[in-house]
């Protein structure tokens, strides 16, 4: 409701309940949950006081799962059923996954998103991620002492629509209300910028376990404007481990290793990599199942040499983002380093050389994303104070296009457009009497559809039969603040409408999600109807609160008849809010919302003209 938003100058909004909201960094390697407590963002810890939860899920033979630290030991003893780095599979087909040969899983040959075969049956990456999210939700609810109102889940900025949808689906499956999907580098910029009251152009360089993002932001008086973003959703610390793994196979002359040994070698590689951050050389030593001993020594120089190409690979997105922003490295005031893999000295050196300045490493690269997400969650839940009115203006990372004749992609929305963004395009029929038309939506920068990512196909039906070229079909593409696309279509002369929510070619259908929800044990025991009623009651309470404030502030914008209607609807809603009929409650909420629609518009216009007048006076 816009009604609630508008507090008159000098008049503070009525105090309302603090809503429980958290930010979740769902990482490839590590996940965290954070919240804002007494105005300060803090990470929530487990019983042992640990903030980080390794993103590992173990499906036990005979049922049950282990998560996080508890699942670390089974990585070697039960590699097929112990899933690490599941984020790399989100919204991806089997052909998209790099280094699949070094992974000890059993993949299923299914169309769309990859699936893993475990002792507990076939699992989608969405379900596996939902387990991680559910664990973080439990941690948060135990720590905050109540049910969460909403969460902000972070995603790599360069995630495409399919990967974002998959993340959102996972959160839904975990029973979370997603307030926003927030880009990881943007979250980091918020945490950094608000802490340091920064102004100017900053770059965020985020190299995690599995993904790389580079965002350029302009910070002006509390506005965080993303100018450009670029990245590689399949580049991270894991790839450095993989280089060491290959090097070890080569130098120790190991035949293709077993699943257990592959996992052992990868874990040893990661340990070596991390040791080389602080030491000049590190031992690569382990005993394999076959009884073979690996006993190697890796020097920093060796490691830098074998990963030189990976470091170079991070610079390409940096250059592209700067070019898109129309800036040169000199224009950047500071480079904020995020993600555990930015601890590697040769990464820091490459960044320093490219930008001609030492990067900013004074914040905790593991936590900063979760902390920024918590700040955003707090604001979106409506907990922010009046004087605390920062704003994020983020962008779409990859262009959206439509397939045209000859398999070419015609760009409909350009990359780096500020969100939300909508674009309408008109099409016409090419045959007499044609009643249907199909569209293929792709994402990516390449000219050929085959080189872009297929997001979805949809068909528009029920076009009234007309002569070829007479129908005018207006298709609107809209990308919301989560970076998610929806499409609607309208035949202009007859008003035939079809609204299509895009389900990605790699995503799950609503039915699949519903099925997973049903089969999920947790939710079978949850009383879903009670939860639905509770949600409606919360919504009704908020609406009543909003109306009361709006009427107190601006009731003169209503005529008598309008006022009577609104008062009657408020009374009815008050009556229903304590009852048990979720449907009646839902109807009453809708009725009151509709009745206050015009009122809200008038209030908004009044407040906007005030805002702009204020602005003009500022300028004088």
């Amino acid at each position: 409701m816009a009604l609630l938003q508008i507090a008159e100058p000098g008049q503070s909004a009525a105090p309302h309940k603090h809503r429980l909201a958290v930010g979740i960094d769902l990482g490839t390697t590590n996940s965290l949950v954070a919240t804002v407590r007494n105005g300060i963002a803090v990470c929530l810890t487990d019983e042992q006081g640990r903030a980080i939860m390794p993103s590992i899920v173990h499906y036990r033979d005979g049922g049950g799962i282990e998560l996080g630290f508890d699942a670390m030991s089974t990585r070697v003893s039960d590699p097929r059923n112990t899933i690490v780095s599941v984020k790399r599979f989100m919204g991806r087909g089997i052909k998209d996954v790099t280094h699949i040969e070094a992974m000890p899983y059993v993949f299923e040959e299914t169309p769309g998103m990859v699936r893993l075969r475990t002792v507990q049956g076939s699992k989608s990456p969405v379900e596996i991620s939902a387990e991680l999210l559910r664990a973080l939700r439990k941690r948060a609810e135990a720590s905050l002492g109540g049910e969460l109102t909403g969460v902000v889940v972070t995603v790599p900025a360069y995630f495409d629509d399919a990967q974002r949808q998959a993340t959102r689906d996972a959160a839904r499956l975990a029973g979370l209300h997603v307030l926003r999907l927030l880009n990881e580098p943007t979250a980091a910029a918020v945490a950094y910028g608000l802490d340091n009251a920064s102004e100017g152009v900053y770059a965020v360089f985020d190299l995690g376990g599995g993904t790389f993002d580079l965002s350029i932001l302009k910070l002006t008086r509390g506005v965080f404007e993303v100018l450009a973003t670029n990245g590689d959703t399949a580049l991270g610390g894991d790839d450095f481990d993989h280089r060491l793994y290959c090097w070890a196979l080569d130098h120790a002359r190991i035949d293709p290793p077993s699943a257990e040994d592959a996992r052992r070698l990868l874990m040893a590689a990661r340990a070596v990599k991390e040791l080389l951050t602080v030491c000049e050389e590190a031992p690569f030593r382990l005993r394999l199942d076959s009884g073979e001993e690996v006993d190697l020594t890796v020097t920093r120089a060796d490691f830098f040499e074998m990963t030189r190409a990976l470091v170079q690979k991070t610079l390409a997105p940096v250059k592209r983002a700067l070019r898109d922003a129309g800036l040169s490295p000199r224009d950047v005031k500071g480079v904020v380093m995020v993600g555990g893999a930015t601890r590697m000295p040769h990464i820091q050196r490459a960044v320093a050389e490219y930008f001609g300045q030492e990067p900013l490493t004074n914040l905790d690269p593991d936590r900063v994303v979760a902390l920024g997400a918590a700040m955003q969650a707090n604001a979106l839940a409506g907990n922010r104070r009046e004087d605390d009115s920062w704003l994020l203006l983020d962008v779409i990372p990859l262009s959206l296009g439509l397939e045209t004749m000859g398999g070419l992609s015609e760009k409909v929305i350009a990359r780096n457009a500020t969100l939300p963004v909508a674009r309408a395009q008109e099409f016409t029929t090419f045959k007499d009497g044609q009643t249907a038309m199909s569209f293929h939506i792709v994402q990516g920068e390449r000219e050929l559809v085959a080189d872009c990512r297929s997001l979805a196909r949809f068909e528009l039906r029920g076009i009234p039969p007309m002569a070829a070229g007479a129908a005018r079909i207006r298709v609107t593409f809209q990308v919301d603040a989560d970076g998610l696309l929806s499409v609607s279509a309208l035949e202009a002369s007859t008003g035939v409408e079809a609204s299509i929510h895009v389900k990605p070619s790699y995503g799950l259908t609503d039915d699949e999600i519903a099925g997973m929800l049903r089969s999920s044990l947790e939710h079978a025991s949850d009383d879903l109807t009670a939860r639905a009623l509770r949600e409606k009651q919360v919504e009704a309470e908020r609406l009543l609160e909003a109306c009361a404030q709006a009427l107190a502030a601006d009731s003169e914008l209503l005529d008598e008849a309008e006022r009577t209607t609104i008062d009657a609807l408020i009374a009815r809603l008050r009556q229903l809010v304590t009852g048990h009929d979720a449907n009646a409650l839902s109807d009453a909420i809708a009725a009151l919302s509709r009745a206050t629609e015009d009122f809200a518009t008038r209030r908004m216009n009044r407040s906007l003209s005030k805002a702009l007048t204020g602005h003009n006076i500022d300028e004088l």
Binding site: A417, M604, N605
Partner: protein
């Protein structure tokens, strides 16, 4: 509606309807409006007409900002307000000297591309940038001072060409980044 959708882009931001524009003022007006209508401002409110209105407003404000921010789209928008749509502009016949200029640019870009000469491409991008600066100044005179719409339409067409060329160069350079 959360913002008056009937206002033209300039009026929406409280700016005078002309080509010359102070970017900082536009940015500030954009931020001010988005602070009111951005979906983040309404996320805690129940789903309903107010959220939809705010969304429509946020979309409109971004659309307006995008159009006014760049000199080319701003000039196109001014011509459109004056009744000169893109179809009219595109139907304009280019003067021979401009056609010749375009031919020369194209040849230079093709040559640098053919020999994978990154330095040459970057040089060309720089020269384009300088030339574009001159064209922007010309547009300001034609649109704001002389009110010569036909001449401005010609200049807009020239600028469309320069922009397209710049994009081509950028795409080639981007391919060399990785």
């Amino acid at each position: 509606m959360s913002v008056d959708l009937s206002l033209d882009y300039f009026a929406l931001f409280g700016l005078p309807c002309r080509f010359r524009l102070d970017e900082a003022t536009l940015d500030h007006a954009w931020h001010t409006l988005q602070t009111e209508v951005h979906p983040d401002r309404h996320a805690h409110l129940p789903d309903g007409s107010d959220r939809r209105n705010a969304m429509a407003g946020a979309l409109r404000v971004n659309e307006a900002y995008t159009a006014l921010k760049k000199p080319l789209t701003r000039a196109q928008y001014l011509l459109e307000l004056a009744g000169m749509g893109s179809d009219v502009i595109n139907a304009n016949v280019m003067a021979p000297e401009y056609l010749f200029e375009q031919l020369q640019w194209r040849e230079a870009v093709e040559e640098a591309r053919g020999t994978n000469d990154i330095d040459a491409l970057e040089q060309l991008a720089l020269r384009l940038q300088i030339q574009k600066g001159g064209v922007v100044e010309q547009l300001a005179v034609q649109l704001d001072d002389q009110r010569d719409l036909d001449a401005a339409a010609d200049t807009v067409r020239r600028m469309m060409f320069l922009d397209k060329l710049r994009q081509d160069i950028d795409n080639v350079l981007a391919a060399f980044d990785g």
